[in-house]
Amino acid sequence: MKEIVVISGKGGTGKTSLTASFAVLGGQNLVVADCDVDAADMHLLLEPDFAHGEDFFSGELAVIDQAKCSACGQCEDVCRFDAIDMIEGCYSVDEIGCEGCGYCARVCPDEAITNVKQNVGQWYRSAIRTGTTMIHAQLKVGADNSGKLVAKVKKMATEVAGNEGKYWILVDGSPGVGCPVISSLSGASLAVLVTEPTVSGLHDLRRVHQLVKMFRIKSGCVINKADLNSDVRRDLHRFLKEEGIPVLAEIPYNEQFTAAVTNGKTIVEWDADLEQLVRGCWEKVTQLADDR
């Protein structure tokens, strides 16, 4: 079993369009995992049936029982997140600020504070139109613990791949370099870095590659909108060469990316030129992931 994780550092580089295309090309021999849990979009292209869904609980929230509270204020004193305030004579918890550390409950002399497990979202196991299974999730808006939900999605995808005898797990990661991305990368056989020849694209690629390198994960790069700026493209190639990162594909700036999405299609189902490019790319991705 091999796991391919598609990430980008910067948003809007075409990561999800590309990942959904890989899902179409990989067909029944893969399980799809959408780990961009706070802005999951792949379901818009792959039409999951949401056959099985479960709430996901992670982290806690302090709740104050006003009947027991003697308003001593010790909870407010120990809270490092400024999440407890006196409002209209009662101590109350700011749900957004509370990190669920439980410190307040431990010091409360009245035992008035309990920690309640938080439902931070749902995860789903779905059949998708490419004839395989997708594990996906939706984090509740504003929720913490996206990294934990990502880990859950990956764990379920690995289980399904094991049970159904699938060789590939294809993961759509999230932007950035923080906890959900770090969680997406754990256990990856290959990180596909999607970028563009823009000052922001290059900057973010450098940072996300530092992370990939730190975890000793093999990587390859897809340059989307490759003809947008020849100077930055040169810098990008120089960086990739220095770091020994193979270029898996260069895709020219093409508004058919948007047209495909608008029609609910992946780019490989929409445009013959793009289909050829992305098919070649997918072959390289699988070869590189399989290389020892």
Binding site: I96, C101, P175
Partner: protein, 288 residues
């Protein structure tokens, strides 16, 4: 007056809007721009100025003192984040899991886990004529963006008067980093694009800012590509579409090179003018 520029989907043009709007407004009044996308800060790529101040940013984590430790294991019990593990006669701290709540440290009967500063990132303050630019960047492998965003906002609050226009370039998504970046804002501008991805993530972003009880408007970027679903949605939901920025390869190329748009592209200047007027009208309207 704090204006947060946010979006559910990444790559819709938050940084493009934040930098162009800040420089446009700085043409007539002093403005602060803070890049709170600490995982991937990009605003600085579009601005030139002189470094005025830089400082390392720290988070506090416990450090184990073997000599005084009684090995009672309370620290492991009180930690809700599994950041402390007692193994035999050793106590291990996992800094990346620690949320800095101080519970283990302050509840330790022998005071054997004093809190220590660990660098998580760096803040830079850059000045140009009328613009103060503040940027923080998270060190690679640090998982938690929220504490650094929090400290960056504190820096801005301390250094600049409340009435001054402050533009916050926020991280993408709808989870804790974007909440931290927008919760203190007087106005949130949600940037989106006219595609199914843009619409889907806009709806999540709208739900988020509504939960926070924030006043918000939408700016539609890449107008002309895709379809009209975002505009229909805004109309149906009574959301003000404050400006449209046209889709063009020329704009994409200009941004790719790290250049600002409004000086050369009249449609962008007009959009910035509309948004600047909106901000000024709100700023005079009783907000701090």
């Amino acid at each position: 007056m704090k204006v947060a520029i946010a979006s559910g989907k990444g790559g819709t043009g938050k940084t493009t809007l934040a930098t162009n709007l800040a420089m446009y407004m700085a043409g007539t009044e002093p403005v602060v721009l803070a890049d709170l996308d600490v995982e991937e800060p990009n605003s600085g790529l579009f601005l030139k100025g002189e470094l005025y101040h830089r400082e390392p940013k720290y988070k506090m984590i416990p450090g184990w003192q073997e000599e005084t430790c009684s090995l009672n294991g309370d620290c492991q019990t009180v930690c809700n984040f599994n950041a402390i593990l007692k193994m035999g006669n050793h106590v291990m701290v996992f800094p990346e899991l620690c949320h800095g709540c101080y519970a283990c440290s302050e509840l330790c009967p022998t005071a054997s886990l004093p809190m220590q500063a660990k660098q998580m990132g760096e803040l830079k303050h850059i000045k140009t004529d009328n613009l103060d630019f503040v940027e923080s960047r998270l060190m690679i492998s640090e998982e938690q963006a929220v504490p650094l965003i929090h400290q960056t906002i504190d820096y801005v609050d301390e250094k600049f008067p409340a009435a001054m226009v402050k533009i916050f370039d926020s991280p993408p998504g709808t989870s804790c980093p974007v909440i931290e970046a927008t919760r203190g804002a007087d106005l949130v501008i949600l940037v989106t694009e006219p595609t199914p991805f843009g619409l889907h993530d806009l709806k999540l972003a709208v739900e988020t800012v509504r939960q926070l009880g924030k006043e918000f408007v939408v700016v539609l970027n890449r107008h002309g590509i895709g379809d009209d679903q975002v505009e229909r949605y805004c109309e149906a939901e009574n959301i003000l579409l404050a400006a449209r920025i046209p889709n063009s390869r020329h704009i994409a190329e200009t941004c790719a090179a790290g250049k600002l748009l409004y000086q050369d592209i009249p449609e962008v200047a007009a959009a910035m003018d509309a948004i600047a007027r909106l901000i000024r009208s709100r700023n005079g309207g009783g907000h701090s």
